[in-house]
């Protein structure tokens, strides 16, 4: 696995930042955006260069994807799987909500004044289309198996774990690369601002005064194989649970109905009781409505003592990459023996009855649950575990 976010490039940098309880959020100076908000911008994305052969795919989203894939010997792990199973037997199931839409945003400023046409260099299939992420990564990793992009807003890269798990179980593929890549763009910055969902400060999940999200960007990838094929001591995917709120397109169900159903479904899929869960990585965006609804949903299922936290105060809300990024954070917590505390929660919301960690806590955790919920009332919970 590997992850790159505003906390740093690769797992080591992320672990250092989490250990130091350091945030990666900074005042928004992205592109031409003029908004009073903070963002989780990854340093060095602009200077990343795609090889000329892959120039068709050049955009911020794919530069970030390439930067992320180059860390933690991830590409060599994929190469090993490709040799072992064959390039047609390794699936690729990725997620994005932004794709490389920034390229189209810029292209619309450069339309031909006479004809209205977009500039020649805009490659719709290379950057704009959601699938362009998988098309690019497929070439970079030299894979030839089944591939798709899931785009369900902020639950996208949690859902790909379930997709891969099913196709591996059915023998359609022997292994799969899953993950999510989302990058900063004007659509999400101005869009969340229009909904009054961006905070003017670094986001404060579960704080009584929280007032919105900080948008982040990230690339996170995981190589999934059958348990019997994996190296001993590797974290396992235990179960994925999903649901829909059927309530509102951009507001969660106020009682967290869908969130509870997704967590229940993940536990049922894994055949693991709620009492076995040692840590919950909350969706915890820092909006009034999400944290309130999620708090109720978690409290309805788990003992009040179960440690919970949102890591979005450190990484920002990385939208379509959040699911995969936070599964990786959970796996690191299981491996490293420490649970990450949630940043910027100075005064825990009194309505929150959870054991919300505000500082890192040592723990020999074996089972962790990661929540990802999104616009469109889509909910996905991923349960992972480490064998003793």
């Amino acid at each position: 696995m590997t992850a790159t976010s505003c906390l740093g490039v690769g797992l080591h940098a992320m672990q250092s930042a989490i250990s130091a309880q350091r945030t990666g959020l900074s005042r928004c100076e992205f592109e031409t955006a003029q908004l009073p908000t903070y963002v989780g911008e990854v340093a060095g994305v602009d200077s990343e260069r795609l090889s000329p052969a892959l120039g068709f795919y050049d955009c911020r989203n794919h530069r970030l994807a390439q930067l992320g894939l180059a860390q933690d010997e991830f590409m060599s792990a994929v190469a090993t799987a490709r040799l072992r199973y064959g390039p047609r037997r390794v699936g690729l199931f990725l997620a994005t909500s932004t794709s490389g839409i920034l390229e189209s945003e810029i292209a619309y400023r450069r339309r031909d004044p006479a004809t209205g046409l977009l500039p020649e260099n805009l490659q719709y299939a290379g950057s704009h289309n959601f699938y362009s992420l998988a098309a690019f990564v497929r070439e970079l990793l030299d894979l030839q198996g089944p591939a798709a992009v899931v785009s369900t807003a902020c639950s996208s890269s949690a859902k790909v774990f379930g997709m891969a798990q099913r196709l591996i179980a059915l023998g359609i593929v022997d292994a799969a690369v899953v993950g999510g890549v989302d990058s900063l763009c004007l659509t999400t910055l101005y869009g969340f601002h229009s909904l009054q969902l961006t905070s003017s400060r670094p986001c404060r999940p579960f704080d009584a005064q929280r007032d919105g999200i900080s948008i982040g960007e990230a690339a996170a990838f995981v190589l999934l194989e059958r348990t019997e094929s994996a190296a001993r001591g590797t974290a396992s995917l235990l179960g994925v649970g999903e649901s829909s709120d059927a309530y509102h397109l951009s507001s969660p169900h106020p009682e967290g109905l869908g969130a509870r159903l997704a967590m229940q479904a993940a536990l049922a899929a894994a055949q693991v009781p709620a009492s076995a869960v040692d840590y919950v990585n909350l969706h915890g965006t820092g909006t009034r409505s999400n944290d309130s609804a999620e708090s109720k949903a978690v409290a309805a299922l788990f003992a009040a003592s179960v440690p919970c936290s949102s890591t979005k105060g450190a990484t920002g809300h990385t939208l379509g990459a959040a699911g995969a990024l936070e599964v990786v954070i959970c796996a690191m917590a299981l491996d490293g023996g420490a649970l990450p505390g949630g940043l910027h929660c100075d005064n825990l919301d009194p309505a929150c009855t959870l054991n919300y960690l505000r500082a890192n806590q040592s723990a020999a955790a074996r089972v962790a649950l990661s929540n990802s919920f999104g616009f469109g009332g889509t909910n996905c919970s991923v349960l992972i575990g480490r064998q003793s």
């Binding site: 977009l118 030839q144 992009v149 951009s250």
Partner: protein, 267 residues
Amino acid sequence: MSGIAAVALESLGLLGPGLGGWPQARALLRGEASYTRQPTLIPAPTTLPAAERRRTGRVVHLALAAGLEAIAGSDTDLTSLTTVFASSGADSQNCHEILQTLASADRQLSPTRFHNSVHNVTGGYWSIATHDLAPYTVVCAYDGSFAAGMLESLSLVTTSASDVLLVAYDVDYPAPLREKRPIGDAFAVAMLLRSNAGPRTLGTLTANYSDVPVDTLPSAELEALRLSTPAARALPLLEYVATARAGSRALEYQREGSLLVEYLPCR
């Protein structure tokens, strides 16, 4: 490794240029009717509350109409029906409007425009319209999006033994994106898939990833329709369903591989 078990196809819905429902498309695919290409007519979704109906665009109305046709008369429980949406683009008109606003002096977006920009706008409104608490997903594989949705749907039915509604749809882009991504008129196909065959089952489906070249259609106008929009890449399979013909159909999926779908009609 069991592979994908035979999944029962119960019913379909279809909207396209000159095609106002599955019965009309079936007659065309059976050679019983000639094809008159006309603009796709998309009915307003009566299942959506009036406020939501006003806030939604053609792509949502298209996907809902095809999905509702497929489930009409079925005894599947709509409030727990897993759904899979497959599309190359999302709401193309909405995307264009956002890009235009962001390129203007005043970048203030409408909140409704923004939340309608997500690829899963169809799944979100479907779940609201049908009070469906079951999961939905939205997949994209460019021109192979139908195959990606089909593989996802069949794997869901096989592993969860639950019913799945697959809805594949695409609408055309307005200029100037139209020049970058030419898509034909709106097209959607929906299939209700069930783990157990019943009296309404039309046939069974299985699928696997293959290196068989993509099947084309003998009729020039149907082949043109197949190529005009990603959702219409389903047509070679629909031809076998319409004519109750057993056999394998290779559908466009990846550059190096197709999705080989085997169809066995029951009646």
